[in-house]
């Protein structure tokens, strides 16, 4: 593997932004259908960062949150990386009522924490899977996923490890902000691609755009 910084053109960023926009729109529609919620979408943002800059970038993006919940899931294919779905702490509790888990709601003896975690996992799995899956499909790839894991109520500075990615490698960071209508919940989805994916991604973006030349 090479350690030099990759270059990504503005046009490639634009295509990636549009592809993430389409993919997150699909994910939102899937979630809306599953749990009867309306997701307010925003324009995604694309950044190219060195691995060493990534922890500080994420901490800075999350500076307004005192406590957060993160659903983290890795995706593997030619399109490869990690997805971080970030909610303010307590979002899971807000979302619990939306999910018909088929279980009786018992909010005693710490079970609320388990239910909150399950809710975040469910929402995270759906949003991340649908978004990453659609991006991979548009780019001509098929990805597999690690099981999602959730970390609840840690301060962002504690939750983001300094060695998230190799410090010399390039990561493409895609961020989209969303909120749930009629619920006091908003969050971010970050997709961070690995260095190995970048060249493949550039070729795939070029192929995607060729359809429209």
């Amino acid at each position: 593997m090479e350690s030099e910084i990759c270059q990504v053109t503005d046009e490639e960023k634009d295509i990636l932004q549009e592809i993430m926009n389409i993919a997150f729109g699909k994910a939102a529609a899937d979630l809306a259908e599953a749990i009867n919620i309306f997701v307010v979408l925003s324009v995604p943002n694309i950044q190219l960062l060195k691995g060493a800059e990534l922890p500080d970038y994420l901490r800075d993006e999350l500076r307004d949150f005192t406590d957060i919940s993160i659903v983290e899931q890795n995706f593997r294919g030619k399109f490869r990386g990690s997805a971080f779905l970030v909610f303010p702490a307590g979002a899971g509790k807000e979302l619990i009522s939306l999910l018909d888990t088929g279980h009786e709601m018992v909010f005693e003896s710490g079970s609320i924490d388990i239910l909150e975690k399950e809710t975040l996992l469910e929402v995270g799995n759906l949003l991340i899977g649908a978004c990453v899956g659609k991006m991979a499909e548009l780019l001509g790839d098929l990805v597999t996923y690690s099981p999602p894991k959730v970390v609840i109520e840690n301060h962002p500075h504690e939750i983001i490890p300094n060695n998230l990615f190799n410090s010399e490698y390039t990561a493409i960071v895609m961020k989209t902000l969303f909120s749930f209508d009629e619920r006091d919940v908003s969050g971010f989805l970050f997709l961070v691609t690995t260095h190995d994916s970048v060249v493949w991604l550039q070729n795939s973006l070029a192929r995607f755009l060729q359809q429209y030349e």
Binding site: E11, D14, I15, Q17, E18, N21, I22, A23, F24, G25, K26, A28, A29, A32, E33, F38, V39, L41, S42, V43, L138, L209, Y212, E213
Partner: protein
């Protein structure tokens, strides 16, 4: 007869993709705008026959722009071209008078199909 077409979308790539899907024989002139407010300004001056309008945009979003455009011209043919394919979003814009919703990414087929529908409603071919 070819038509005047307005594309309102904050993404230059998205506008390029859509333009490439519109049959050449349908185009008399195309103008573009990068947000809802700019789109509204062009809409007033250009008087397009068909407007393609994105929803998620800075400055003024597509829903607001759609409302304003329909106030200016209740008969305006406005096709919402969006990645927001939630049922509630589609119902909302259709309720506000959008002619149709074009799901992103556009294809030559999906655009042609919609233009044919415009044509059927206007009694012409290909919306022209």
């Amino acid at each position: 007869m070819a038509k005047k077409i307005l594309i309102v979308d904050d993404s230059p790539i998205s506008r390029k993709m859509l333009k490439s899907c519109i049959p050449a024989e349908c185009i008399k002139e195309i103008q573009e705008a990068g947000d809802g407010l700019a789109g509204l300004k062009v809409f007033k001056e250009f008087l397009p026959d068909i407007t393609f309008l994105d929803l998620t945009m800075p400055v003024m979003d597509g829903v607001q722009a759609l409302e304003e455009m329909k106030k200016l011209d209740p008969e305006a043919v406005i096709i919402v071209a969006t990645a927001d394919v939630q049922v509630k979003s589609i119902e909302k814009v259709m309720g506000l008078g959008a002619f149709h919703v074009l799901k992103k990414p556009p294809t030559k087929e999906s655009v042609r199909e919609i233009l044919l529908k415009v044509g059927e409603c206007r009694g012409t071919e290909h919306g022209i």
